[in-house]
């Protein structure tokens, strides 16, 4: 039986109130959105805040809207279920809806939110455990200890970013809106992360209120996308490897631009390099496309080095990298997906 440590609960009804509460309590406060990750983490005593600030009562943070200029705005408290079913998001970012639909299981998708997934704490099999379990091992670098159990002698935490929507949002250049005491500011999602497993965000003490997907350039291309997720079971699990694909193709099905981002490798979601130059100018369905996909898969396998940070054998996960990159590219081209083996 896992009990939550004691805390006081605040239930503000406006963003301004929530920001004021966070400013007043500083590091003693934790924000709770859907609670699907924070509550287990608090039960594991990874977080023991004095005050928990709930966003459940802030109606303005829920829902998806499309602005006149075509920007799709997703409130941070929109549930993953609602994101997965959102037609405007699907039209603009197919990989995002596919990724949201593959997160955890049905109950957790109804509770968990897009903002919570973007701001998810990094995960590691030596960290996401009970206090008793971690104590028996002498704790670890990320919490309470000085030793890394993943990299022998490692001085830098390598807990893995495990949020499926993050690489998908990166492929479409999403912009995040944060509210702090000085008001709102926009942060491009690529600039949110830094590669430190202990805390992999550059933003602290501010509240993520909205995820914006900017309008597409009016260049006559259409968007293709897909998300591939390697996991142990057909539901519930965090990714063992995830890859999001965006392809922009013109009227002749020739790829004009491409972007591939992956997750569950290191402390931040990573963009796979050289993919756009390998795929640009290639026509879908041609022999050249098959060759380009094979080259991309081989390139990805060189770039991605899974560590023993999340569950699942690291060698197996490495062997699956080219498989998932290839299948997800083919799924994006075929307009199918998501890609998962169960």
């Amino acid at each position: 039986m896992l009990r939550l440590p004691k805390f006081e609960l605040e239930n503000p009804t406006t963003v301004a109130e929530a920001v004021a509460l966070l400013a007043r309590h500083g590091d003693d406060a934790q924000v709770i959105a859907g609670g699907t990750d924070l509550v287990p983490n608090m039960k594991h005593e990874l977080f023991t805040p004095d005050v928990v600030v709930s966003l459940a009562g802030i109606a303005e943070l829920r829902g998806v809207c499309v602005r006149d200029d075509g920007t799709v705005c997703i409130g941070a408290m929109t549930t993953l279920d609602d994101v997965a079913a959102s037609e405007p998001v699907r039209a603009r970012a197919l990989a995002v809806t596919q990724a949201a639909a593959l997160i955890a299981g049905p109950q957790l998708r109804r509770m968990g939110t897009l903002g919570g997934n973007v701001m998810l704490d990094t995960r590691c099999q030596w960290y996401n455990q009970t206090h008793f379990w971690r104590q028996a091992l002498g704790f670890c670098l990320k919490k309470d200890g000085t030793l890394c159990h993943v990299v022998e002698g490692g001085g830098k935490c390598v807990a893995a970013a495990s949020n499926d929507t993050a690489p998908a949002l990166m492929t479409v250049g999403a912009v995040l809106v944060f509210h702090g005491p000085d008001g709102p500011r926009e942060v491009p999602i690529d600039d949110l992360w830094h590669p430190d497993g202990i805390y992999n965000k550059k933003v602290r003490g501010e509240l993520l209120t909205e995820v914006r997907i900017p309008p597409r350039a009016d260049d006559g291309t259409r968007l293709l996308g897909a998300y591939g997720k390697l996991r142990e079971r057909g539901s519930i699990d965090f990714p063992l490897f995830g890859v999001a694909v965006r392809l922009d193709v013109d009227a002749n099905d020739t790829i004009q631009d491409a972007d591939l981002c992956s997750v569950a490798l290191q402390a931040r979601p990573v963009r796979l390099k050289k993919m756009a130059e390998l795929l640009r100018g290639v026509t879908l369905g041609s022999d050249a496309f098959q060759d380009a996909v094979a080259t991309c898969a081989a390139q990805a396998a060189k770039q991605c080095r899974p560590l023993a940070n999340v569950p699942g054998d690291a060698d197996y996960r490495h062997a699956m990298v080219p498989v998932y990159v290839r299948r997800t590219l083919l799924a994006a081209a075929a307009g199918s997906g998501p890609v998962h083996h169960i």
Partner: protein
Amino acid sequence: MRLQRLQINGDRIEVAAPSHWTLLEVLRYRLGLTGSKQGCDKGDCGACTVLIDGKPVLACLTLSALCEEREITTIEGLLPAHLRSGGTGPDPVQDAFDRCGALQCGFCQPGMMLSARALLNENPAPSRAEIKDALAGNLCRCTGYTQIVQAVELVVAEAAGSEPEPPAWAPNANPWKNGCAKNGHEEPPARATDNGEGA
């Protein structure tokens, strides 16, 4: 400690509980509603599934203090809700799980049946894939899931008046055919679980 006004299985209940208690703790240890099971207690297993505003969510990850003004249904409320809506006997989901042998130890059943009930309320004729998808967050370590999916399909078939597909172990002698002997359930009392007053 604060006074929480909850609406559980149609009853308005005032209960004093600490802010850091989950809905599952309040249900089990304040109100004596032990039908919602405490399994992994961290969102993996689905044994604590309850309906909040008609949708299955996990009580072990839900703070009770955030459930005020929400309509909560636990497994104890399934039969009374069925009777209130004019039904007789057990809820068809409960009946079908019983007849199909869709359980062994029974620990996953409350969550499993609530997930199934919510699915059928939303979509009275789900496909097998939709049933499996809706139950994906409820783990069962005994049955292998086959009879559980069959039970939901039986509810769907009987509601539509059609013949349910026979199970794989009896392809030629369909045990579900012609409403084969429903178990002789006695008529339950009008209010089988009057749980409003606490433990």
